[in-house]
Symmetry: C2
Subunit: 76 residues, 2 copies
């Protein structure tokens, strides 16, 4: 079974990678880009009997740094 | 306007980061995890008149390495 996990920086947390991407896009002429936030997109192939609670545990223990990041689970 | 961009490694391309995550999850006792693929999740705040073709150009020129990565655009 495929599960998608989205990990994003919490609002207010500085995102130097996103800022660098924004500036690079401006440099390429894409002036309409106001902001970019960079996160991680993980696709997990897990056993069919895996529960959402287990995936949430994985996020809290390893996949996300919950001090500064939020996560969202999809497809379970 | 918010646009989401998902960047993933093409099938067959080795993913050392995903493999390391898989092994770390096994080490934490999550034996049901068969595979993890790690990608990027970008949230772009763009001008309302931005077209999907422009976002596709951003992906091809900067956001994705189309030799080894696929990208998907959502929310436009």
């Amino acid at each position: 079974m495929k599960v998608e996990v989205f990990v994003t920086l919490k609002p207010g947390v500085l995102d130097p990678q996103g800022r660098a991407i924004t500036q690079a896009l401006h440099g390429l002429g894409f002036a309409g880009v106001e902001d970019v936030r960079a996160g991680r997109y993980l696709t997990l192939d897990v056993a069919d009997n895996t529960t959402e609670a287990q995936v949430r545990d994985m996020c809290q223990q390893l996949l996300a740094n919950t001090v500064i990041e939020n996560f969202r689970i999809s497809g379970i």
